[in-house]
């Protein structure tokens, strides 16, 4: 059962990923990415990461993707022209991607898995276990992340303000 779920979700994710790259209209790329994120959230559930699953749906597929859709709606349907393409760019990127894929394949062949820690799988991945990690050992990175969000919000407001000479 879990194997079937894995393969369906994996196929959806790969199809969505191909869609992100292949569709010519940005809005279709965004919707393909939403498909990828939903498929990945199913995989997170398989890996017993319930909290990450919820965050993936709410923050990623919800908020971030809606932000992309808003910007596309704001900017209007952008066309993508083939002109101005650098020579050999397609070949170079194909070569780069093949090398990258080969590198990752080689890495995966050499992965040596450590013995798993002694953990309680019924407790693993719950909100409680996440919170224990986040507010004890990793409190400092957590606070830094909140500062990062504040900086990003201020930066976005600064960048999208109305300039004096626009008025």
């Amino acid at each position: 059962m879990a194997i079937a779920v894995f393969f369906v979700a994996a196929a959806m994710a790969v199809l969505g990923g191909i869609g992100v790259v292949a569709f010519h209209q940005p809005i279709r790329s965004v919707l393909s990415l939403v498909l990828v994120m939903l498929a990945l959230s199913v995989l997170f559930l398989l890996l017993s990461a319930q909290f990450v699953f919820a965050v993936q749906i709410i923050v990623y597929a919800g908020a971030v993707m809606v932000l992309f859709l808003f910007v596309i709606a704001l900017l209007g349907p952008a066309r993508e022209l083939g002109r101005g393409r650098l020579r050999f760019q397609g070949w170079l990127s194909a070569l780069f991607v093949l090398v990258l894929l080969g590198l990752m394949w080689g890495l995966l062949q050499g992965v040596q898995y450590r013995q798993p820690d002694q953990g309680d799988l019924s407790f693993f991945g719950t909100v409680q276990s996440i919170a224990v990690g986040l507010f004890t050992t990793y409190l400092y990175p957590f606070e830094l992340t909140s500062i990062l969000l504040l900086v990003a919000a201020i930066g976005a407001i600064y960048l999208s303000r109305k300039r004096i000479d626009d008025l």
Binding site: M1, A2, F6, V14, I18, V20, V21, P26, S29, L33, V36, M37, L40, L43, L46, L47, S48, A49, F51, V52, V55, Y60, A63, V64, L67, F68, V71, L75, A78, E80, L81, R83, G84, R85, Q89, G90, L92, F96, V97, M104, W105, L108, V111, Y113, P116, D117, Q118, G119, F124, S129, I130, L134, P141, F142, L148, V151, A152, A156, L159, S160
Partner: protein, 109 residues
Amino acid sequence: MSALNIGGSQLDASWFLLLSAVLFVLGAVGVLVRRNPLVILISIELMLNAANLALVAFSRQLVNIEGQLFALMSMTVAAAEAVVGLAILVDIFRTRDVEDIDDLSELRG
């Protein structure tokens, strides 16, 4: 090879890692061949998601919560990156229409 027992079935951790590698490479293809700056940002999001999948898979394999914590951090960074990147794009598009990312190569408004 490291089999994970999920709901009575045996899934291998390397399947998740392979899927993550494929998605990451697809995102890299998008960054390299697409011309629209918006689609390049979307492809970067795809790569970040692929990395998250690898983190969560390792976290499950080790039964160690730290991978999931790091995935949460990376989601936050991805959200911040999307916000700032889109704000820059909106700011550029306000003065002119960019159909090709190479139009921005001179770093001038």
